[in-house]
């Protein structure tokens, strides 16, 4: 354990440590963040969803993007796995299909940061019970 000898030491230490707590801090206010949900059912995982998720987490942490990556179950788009759903606060969720690491980076860059749509969007053709109520 290194000794904290000055106030600067404490600040530096805090900066280095913040990173590890980021995920917990973000989970405190999920509604104000971009929520990225990776479909992680068996078929998704087989198609490489875990890799996509790890890439997303990496990019988001590296570039300090106000987004939260969570995992979800099967969304039913088996033909287009891996699929991810992106929900920007105040907007309807958008589902992207056939996502790999490159596409994931593009989604963050274009859709999350700039709001531009890219190819590979799956039109929503379902309603959930919650919405019907």
């Amino acid at each position: 354990m290194s000794k904290i000898k000055s106030i600067d030491d404490l600040r530096k230490m805090k900066q280095n440590l913040e990173h590890g707590m980021n995920i917990r801090e973000k989970s405190n206010s999920p509604e104000s963040l971009v929520q990225v949900r990776v479909a992680m059912a068996t078929c998704g995982i087989a198609a490489g969803a875990r890799e996509v998720m790890n890439t997303l987490i990496e990019i988001i942490e590296r570039d300090k993007i106000p987004a939260l990556v969570t995992q979800g179950g099967c969304m039913g788009y088996c033909y287009a796995e891996p699929t991810i759903e992106v929900k920007i606060p105040g907007k309807d969720p958008v589902v992207f299909g056939n996502v790999d690491s490159t596409v994931a980076a593009e989604i963050v860059d274009k859709y999350i940061l700039k709001g531009e749509l890219i190819d590979g969007i799956i039109p929503t053709n379902y309603q959930t019970i919650n919405e019907k109520n």
Partner: protein, 592 residues
């Protein structure tokens, strides 16, 4: 992903340590160690449904988790992203499973300041506290504030003592700062004695560094270099976490000499108490720390002038301290914008009794009892009717239905004949007899009175005897007046808070439930049916099949009758044990 597992005393008692082990093993098996990390934390407050496992970032809140559930959690949730529905919290009103903690009524109305890190960080890792701005308040005060400026800020925030009295914390610091001496002391009162209150324990178990940091801030402000934490020996986990925290802070140089390279020196030592209620009173606490009998003495001199070893001493409660670092980080204005006109900030309450969500909550001052009991607490158990709530433990009083919409703060509770106390809240339903409740609390004070003042030592005992008599169906109407008189005398003539408040449960139940007392005395009836001696057992002839099961269990042979014919109970022989009631398969025994 982070898997937060509660390791507060409550959850540990239901095998949360094993859950941590199993989760780690299971993650290893699935090769997910890099993706998911198990973190042990302090109390989440939702003790009713412990052990708790919370999955971050989606805030999934698993309740009553067993070690055997770990495999499913990892395989389903962590690996495949499917929540384990059966472990999710079920809303008592809608009977629906709640997906995450953000949508649980229990958390929605809470505002966590003192409990900000409880259930969020690992209390045994100082780095997690530092990552959440830990020790930053102490650093900034040492860097650019004079002690006087810091005290002014605290005064402006409006923080009042959370141990019960509600004395302005800034003023207390100021008084101690003004008394010059070669040595002064900062004392943390962790002698939580109210039955049913456990906020101080939870803070010490879940976020010990916040208390250490605040004590150092206090030391800087009042000019003390020594801090003492007076904690009851029956809190082993809190003691262990404090010891770890003090050790880590010393190693990092956050306690000890020349903190942050400044002239300021401060260190903390633990003092163990034997768990006497009276030692929560500051003079008694100081005497106990000195190795003397834990008895209160007359104030003045106040501890701020002559305290521990005759030196100026500032005594603050755990929860009070836990608020301090945040106030300095976010400012006096921020803090004073929360709460009511005279009570600022939040208060932690320990919800207990006949309520659905038993646990620890932190709410802004000024919230109503209705919100606390029916929204956060999830209402009364088994759909029964709310009768009263006891606030302030054995020193407080009962509040009834008509108080449900009163905003809660120090002054409104006093005006309603109760008090804030340390924040215990015991909810009672229609099955609770208010005379018995008053008797229960008096039993506690009789036991805990130190014996120094005669009115408290003898008076409380006499009151307890009268209540016992009333519950046994032998009371007379004069007893009620006698109780009231005795209460006044004890309140007026006792030295410390224990005696001055011990008659409160009697006075407030007499005020709000006098009819219940009268029914006990005149009609010999206990409406709630809880006073055994006043119960009347009878057999409903239509339902009785004459099976003689009751005859065989009756210890006094009070039940007679022909086989296959309705039986009868002789009330003079019946000792009201209830054995027949439990035995009867035909619901033929009626209890009044």
């Amino acid at each position: 992903m982070h898997l937060l597992v509660c390791e507060g005393t409550g959850c540990r008692a239901s095998q949360s340590q094993e859950i941590v082990l199993n989760l780690k093993n299971e993650l290893k098996k699935q090769n997910l160690e890099k993706d998911a990390q198990v973190v042990t934390t302090g109390c989440f407050g939702f003790c009713e449904k412990g052990p708790i496992v919370k999955i971050i970032p989606d805030n999934t809140f698993y309740t009553q988790v067993k070690p055997s559930d770990c495999e499913e959690i990892v395989k389903e949730h962590i690996l495949k992203g499917r929540k384990v529905t059966r472990l999710l919290y079920e809303d008592p009103k809608t009977q629906e499973h709640v997906e995450d903690s953000k949508h649980m009524g229990f958390y929605q109305k809470q505002l966590r300041i003192a409990l900000r890190n409880c259930g969020f960080i690992n209390p045994e890792v100082i780095e997690e506290y530092i990552a959440r701005d830990g020790y930053a308040a102490l650093a900034s005060i040492i860097e650019d504030m004079s002690p006087q400026e810091a005290i002014e800020l605290l005064k402006a925030s409006g923080l009042r003592g959370r141990g019960g009295g509600g004395f302005p914390t800034g003023l207390k610091w100021e008084f101690t700062a003004k008394n010059a001496a070669d040595q002064k002391y900062v004392v943390c009162n962790a002698d939580e004695g109210d039955p049913g209150a456990f906020m101080d324990r939870s803070i010490l178990e879940g976020d010990p560094h916040s208390v250490l940091e605040a004590m150092a801030i206090c030391g800087y402000c009042i000019g003390a270099t020594k801090g003492l934490i007076y904690i009851r020996a029956e809190y082993p986990l809190a003691i262990k976490r404090l010891e770890i925290a003090i050790e880590q802070a010393r190693e990092m140089g956050l306690l000890g000499e020349n903190i942050f390279g400044s002239q300021f020196t401060f260190d903390i030592e633990l003092k163990f108490g034997a768990g006497a209620f009276v030692c929560g009173e500051e003079t008694a606490l100081i005497h106990s720390m000195e190795g003397n009998r834990g008895e209160p003495t007359v104030k003045p001199p106040f501890p701020a002038e002559k305290g521990y070893r005759g030196k100026p001493t500032c005594v603050n409660n755990v929860e009070t301290f836990a608020n301090v670092p945040v106030i300095f980080l976010k400012g006096a204005k921020w803090f004073s914008s929360i709460g009511t006109e005279k009570s600022k900030g939040t208060k932690v309450f320990a919800l207990a009794g006949k309520i659905n969500n038993v646990g620890l909550i932190e709410v802004p001052m000024g919230i109503t009892l209705r919100e606390v009991i029916f929204e956060i607490g999830g209402g009364i158990k088994d759909g029964k009717k709310f009768k009263a709530v006891q606030t302030g433990g054995p020193s407080g009083g009962c509040l009834t239905e008509k108080h449900l919409d009163t905003p809660i703060d120090y002054d409104t509770l006093l005006a309603a004949g109760s008090m804030m106390g340390s924040g215990g809240m015991i909810v009672m339903d229609e099955d609770d007899c208010m005379v018995s409740v008053a008797k229960f609390y008096l039993e506690f004070t009789v036991e805990e009175s130190c014996g120094k003042c005669t009115p408290c030592r003898v008076g409380n005992k006499r009151m307890h005897e009268i209540l016992d008599k009333i519950c046994a169906g032998k009371g007379v109407m004069e007893d009620l007046d006698y109780l009231e008189n005795l209460s006044r005398v004890i309140k007026d003539t006792s030295l410390c808070g224990l005696g001055q408040t011990s008659p409160n449960p009697v006075l407030s139940t007499l005020e709000h439930f006098r009819d219940e007392y009268e029914a006990h005395v005149t009609e010999r009836i206990c409406v709630a049916g809880s006073c055994k001696a006043l119960r009347l057992y009878t057999i409903i002839a239509d339902k009785c099949t004459g099976c003689t099961a009751c005859v065989r269990v009756c210890p006094t042979n009070a039940i007679t009758g022909e086989k296959r014919q309705p039986h009868v109970i002789d009330p003079d022989l019946c000792i009201r044990c209830g054995a027949c009631f439990e035995k009867c398969k035909f619901s033929a025994i009626h209890v009044q």
